[in-house]
Amino acid sequence: MLMKNYFLLFLLFFASFMAYGQNTSCACFIKGIVRDQHSGQPIAGATVLLTGTTNGVFTDDKGRYEIRDLCPGSYQLEARIVGYSAYKQTLDLTAGHEENFTLQEQEVHLKDVEITAKRTDAPSSQPLTTLSGNDLEQTRGQTLGESLKGISGVTSMQTGSSISKPVIHGLHSNRVLIMNNGVRQEGQQWGSEHAPEIDPFVATRLSVIKGAAGVRYGSDAIGGVILVEPEELPFDKPLSGEINLVGFTNGRQGVASSTLQGGIKGLFGFGWRAQGTIKRGGNIRTPNYFLDNTGINEKNFSFGAGYHHKGFGVDLFYSRFDTKIGIFSGSHIGSITDLLNVINNGEPFVKSGFDYKIGRPNQNVTHDLLKAEVHYNFQDGNRLQWTIAQQVNNRNEYDLHVPRNDSIAALNHPELTFKLNTLTNDLIWDHKPIAGKISGQVGVTTLYQYNLMTGRPLIPNFNQFNIGAFWIERYVKNNWEFEAGIRYDYRTLSTYRIVNRIKRSNHFDFHNGSGTIGATRNFTNHLSAKLNTGTAWRAPNVSELFSDGVHHGAAAFEKGDSTLHPEKALNTIASIKYASEKLTVEIGGYFNYIKDFIYLKPQQEPILTVRGAFPYFKYTQTDASFKGVDMSVAWQFVKNTTVTSKLSYLKAYDTRNENYLVMIPANRWDNQLRHEIPQLGNLHHLFLSVGNLWVARQKRVPPNSDFLPPPSAYSLWNIQAGGTIHLSDKQQLEIGLSVQNLFNTVYRDYMNRFRYYSDDIGRNASLRIKWKFGA
C-alpha cells in the first residue's frame, strides 16, 4: 500500500563553524540546505526552526534556509518537513576565538548546517516508538511479535511460544496493520494462531504507531500500525555486510542470518542488498516438562536492488518467508471432556523429551513479496511515487490425526490450505508547498485479492477489491505543528462456498470515510505535547461473516453472521514528553471508542455435534471502549547508570452490554536497571542490565465466559550483558548474553491460548554474536 517510506535519515554536517569573539551582538546566523537523503534533491517548504524561540523559516525552492539575528548561545535546531521525520540538533553559537578573521560584521557568528532528512509517512501527532540499534539487537532471533513486546502499550497474543501476534492497546489481528518495507502485509490475519509472516532480520527499524492511523495506511488500522523498515540501499557504497548468530538454550534453537550489500563499481547510482536467515529449534521446555512437537524450522531470504539518478529512483525488492512450526500435540482436543480433563490434570497428558522433529499437528507457511517502487522528484518540489506489490501467502495446516482412510492418508495433504494472492498499488503525490507554509500529500491506493481454500471448510473463497483515496495536509508554524487528513474507501467482497454440496455466492459492498486531526506543540527544548483524534473503520472479514464450526483450539463453536456491518472507531490519543540529558518521561493516554465492535458473543444454549455439546459463540456487534495509559521513564541517576520503567494500563469495556470484554491484555510494569561502560580498552559500549516484568492478573473478564479463570499475576526476572569489540577500522564484533525467566518461574499468561494446556516457557539463556564488516 505504501511506499517506500523510509528514507535515510541523516545529517551531514559541515562544520564550517565560525564564531567571532570580538562581537557579542546578536548578529549570528545559521544557514544551510535541506535535502532528501535518498535522492539528494533539495526539499522546498521545510520548516527550520529553533526550538523554544519564535525563530522559524521555510526553505526556498532550492532547499535553502537562513536564520538571522541570533544572539550567541546554545540552540536546538529542528527541521520539520511533511513526510519526513523531525530532525533535532543542538548547536553552539557561543563566543569564539577566531579573532583573526575580518569578515563582514553580520557574518560574525555563522553556522552552516546541511540537513539530510529521512522520509516517513507516520503521522506527527501520534505516538511513534521505534526499536533500532542496540534495543533491536537484543531482540534478534525472536519473532516479530516477541520483538515488539518491549514497547509500552504493545503486548502479544500467543499460541505457545513460537506463534506470537502483536497487540496494540488491546487490539490485534485485522485491527493492526503491518507495513512490511512499505507494503501492507496481507496474510490470513484473522486467525489467532496466524502470526505475521515477516523475518525481523529484514528490518533495521521496527516502529509502532499507536492509535488509529487509518487515513495514511488504510482505514482498518483501528489499533495502530507496525512499520518494518530496512535501511536505505547502499547506493554507491563499498561492499559491507554482517553475520548474526544467535543460540537459545530453550528449544536448543539456533538462528543464523547474514546480509551482504553494496553499490556497483563503475555504475553510478546503483545499490543492492541480499539477506538470508535460517532458524532451527526443537521442543520448548517449561520449568517442569518439555512440550511435545514445539519445534520450528524457518528459512527466509530477501533481495533488494535500486537505482537513482537526479530526481528519479527505482527500487525492487523480493522476499520469501518459509516456516514450519510444530503445534504442541497436547493441545489437540476433540471435545469439551478432553479439555476439562487436561485442565483438571494441571499439566499435559502427553509427555515428551527433547526432539527437533516436527510432526503433526503443524503449520507450514510461505509468504512471497515482490515489490517495485518508482519515484520522481520534480524541480519545483512536487514528488510522485508509485509502488506496486504482489504477495502470495500459502498456509498449510496439518491436524494431529491423518485421515483413517489409508489411500487418503497416504497423500498426506494438509487438512487446511489457504492461498491468498494480493496485488497492491499506491500512487502518491507530495505536492509542492502552498504559499511556503502548507505541505501535504494526496494518494490513491488499491488492493485486489483472492483467496482459495481447500480442506476442512472454514472460510469461503473470496475476491476482494479495495480502492481508497486520501489527502493529508500539514502546517508548521514556530513551535506548533498541525495536521489534518481525510480518506475514503470503497470495498467489494464476493464470497463463494459450498453448502450441502451446492455452490453459494454472496456479494458485499462497503464504503466509508475516515479522518484525522492533530497538533504538536513544543513548549521548550525539552518539553513537547501531542494530541490527535482520528476515525477509522473496518469491514467485517470473511471469518466474521462465515465461520461455522468448532474452533478446536478454543473448544468453542463459532458462527459468523453475514449481516454484520463495518465497525467504526473514534480514537483520541494525547501524550506529553519531557526529554533532557538525564531524564526522559513520556506519558500518553488514549480513549478508543469502537461503535459496532465485532466480537464473539457467548450464546445461551450449547450446540450439539458428534463430539458432544460445545459452547456456542456468535459474531455479534456491540459498542466498546478502550481506555488506557502508557508511561515510560528513563532516569540516569548516576553517571552511566540508568533506570527505566514502563507501565501499560488498559481498561476495555463493552458499553452496550455493560460488561467486560474477553482476551484483553492484563496491565504490566516493566523495570530495568542498566549500567554502561563506554570504553574499556578495545571494548566499547559495555553494558550490564537487570530487569523485571510484572504482569497483573486480568481481573476484568465477563463472568462465566471461560473454562478457566485468568491466570495469576506473575513476575519474571531477566539479565543482559554485552559489548562491542573493534577488530579493525572496518570490522567489529558485537556480543550479547541474556537470560530470560532467570528463576525458571512457573507461570501462565492470559493471552496465551495454551494456558489451558501447559505452563509457559521456562528459563531461556541466549548468546548473540554479530560480526559487521565493510562500512
Binding site: H401, L427, T446
Partner: protein
Amino acid sequence: MNRKLTWILLFGVATLFTQCKDSGDEVEADDENELITSVTLTFTEVGTGTVTTFAYKDPDGDGGNAPTKFDTISLKANTSYTLTPAFLDESKTPVDDITAEINEKADEHLLVYTPSPATLLTYTYGDKDEDGYPIGLKGTAKTAQAGIGKLKVQLRHQPDTKNGTPAPGSDDVNIDFNLIVK
C-alpha cells in the same frame, strides 16, 4: 525523463484496476475431509434375537442444520444384549463406512460406553485388537433394574498411544444418548 515518467504513470494507472483471478471458479466440495455424520447402536437381545436400533444423525456435519435424529435408547430391565455400533459419513457419495476403517485401524481406536448412573447397565468388551487391547465394536450390554439415565458413547482416537484405557488421545465421537431401562 518526462516521457519515461508518462509511460510509468500509464502503466501504473492500468495496474490500479487490474483483476487477476476469480476464486469463485475454484470452489469445490472437499472429499478428503472425514466426518462422522451418523452413529447407530444396534442392540440384539440375547436369546430372542430381537433387534432394536437407536441413532444420532447430523447429515451436514457440525454446524449448518441441527442433528436430524437423536433417539432415546429404550431397553428391557435385567436383559443381556449384544451391542454393535456403526459409524457413517453420509456427507459423501457414496457413503463412507467409518466402522470398517475403525476396524482396520483397531490399534488406534477405543470405544467407551459409560452409563450414568453406572448401575443402569454393564458393558463387557467382546473384541480385541492385535495388541490384546479392547476395541468395542463388539460387546455385551447387560441391563439391571429399571431406571432413567444416559449412555455416553465415545470413540477415542489413540494413534501410537493406545493402552487399553480411555485416557490417551482425543474424542472423535462423544455423545450422550438418553437411556430408559424398563
